[in-house]
Subunit: 249 residues, 2 copies
């Protein structure tokens, strides 16, 4: 079905299993064959079969349960449509940013932090001056009872204090639509993507083990003048997401 | 200098150190103050100072050396200008894709795999049919003696066999410029970004410890007809890269 001279045996076995999973022969939560039956089926050493199962585990496609073998992951990663979700047609139409993603039954825990001193690098980008005074809002996103994303948004305090942007509920289209109402529509975004070990705080809020890496996305929103009007620090459970970026040449 | 009521002590100490590193007070390879002097300086417990140092380690900004404390990482992460690097103005002008990034003294080890059976999911995207016959090329990118990226590019065999795309040296602008010469210019790209534990193979070729995650980027290039003409599977040392995506609203 796949393979080719350049492809090691364990990869070809992993490809075969992946194809069976894609085809639905093994559904979410199903147990995969153990290394011995798998080894027998493909006429390889048990060790090679184990390599194949571990390869799928590394891909996040299956999870190992202590002493119980390998199971197809039951959480389908969220496809984050990174660019479409931020298009003006999208939030300008009153849609929420994350409704562009394919996430299921999403719960958002939001809280206003109000006026806070922004972390130094963010204060610099937002040009907050000595006081570094920003308006901040923090959110935790939960999908299928699994916390998947932490987000903290910082904006210049003077820009948004006392405006609808500073309300608990920002209404249709959210923060970006309200900033547009104020004449500060975001026209350009930059996302910086890094991978880190989770801090103790991240691990607790996302319910991650210390060895599950997180994706850190720092997004800066710019208005037409080129001024940065928002910095959003996001922390994602790296196994819960596929980041998709679609763009023209 | 930073902080605010919502920010835990260890974070404020980490912010202060980060600012000193950003300001060049601690340069690449410099040793940071130990947890005891740091704790004394900020009037906190040594444990809190250690949390701050570990936070910077989690950010990849410093590295711990056994028994010798924490040092400012001397490898400056590569900023990958993910979208600009793939613009037609860029490769169309004869530039290499990676010259858009800020990488230093780059070495590329390239080898042709020639005709190979593509992995099943890629064969499907490239619509290779039963045989799944593709033309593949693999590369390893080394920056400052550190392997940072593995890349394998698959294209439909019939599309490129016997053309300059299939040469060892693809010339100015590389594969995409040659595909354009053939009337198959890529006009749209999709990058899918995932984070994984490194496979044994990845770890060996990138010289990573098993607990350093890798970034997997699968990029699909589409021509004007909407047909997928290339799939490039990339594996990045997650600590060596910052992925930057710049786009309009």
């Amino acid at each position: 079905m796949t393979g080719g001279q350049k492809r090691p045996k364990y990869r070809r076995i992993a490809d075969a299993l992946r194809a069976q999973i894609d085809a639905g022969e093994y559904g979410p939560g199903d147990r995969l064959p153990g290394e011995n039956p798998l080894a027998a089926e493909h006429g390889v050493a048990a060790m090679t079969a184990r390599q194949a199962l571990n390869a799928l585990k590394n891909e996040g496609l299956v999870e190992a349960r202590k002493g119980a073998g390998f199971y197809v992951r039951s959480f389908k990663p969220i496809r984050r449509r990174s660019i479409a979700r931020l298009s003006r047609e999208h939030w300008g139409s009153g849609a929420t940013i994350f409704s562009a993603d394919d996430a299921r039954e999403l719960t958002v825990e939001a809280s206003l932090l109000g006026e806070v001193t922004a972390p130094e690098p963010i204060a610099r980008v937002l040009d907050l001056g000595e006081a570094g005074s920003s308006f901040a809002r923090t959110r935790r996103f939960i999908v299928e009872d699994r916390p998947v994303l932490l987000s903290t948004s910082y904006m210049p305090y003077d820009l948004v204090a006392g405006t609808p942007v500073a309300e608990v509920e920002t209404g249709p289209g959210g923060t970006y639509a309200r900033l547009a109402d104020l004449g500060h529509a975001p026209v350009h975004f930059r996302e910086e993507v890094r991978v880190r070990a989770p801090s103790a705080e991240d691990a607790a809020r996302l319910r991650l083990s210390a060895d599950t890496p997180v994706i850190k996305i720092v997004r800066t929103a710019y208005e037409a003048t080129g001024r940065a009007i928002e910095v959003n620090e996001m922390t994602l459970d790296s196994l819960a997401y596929v980041l998709e970026y679609d763009f023209d040449a």
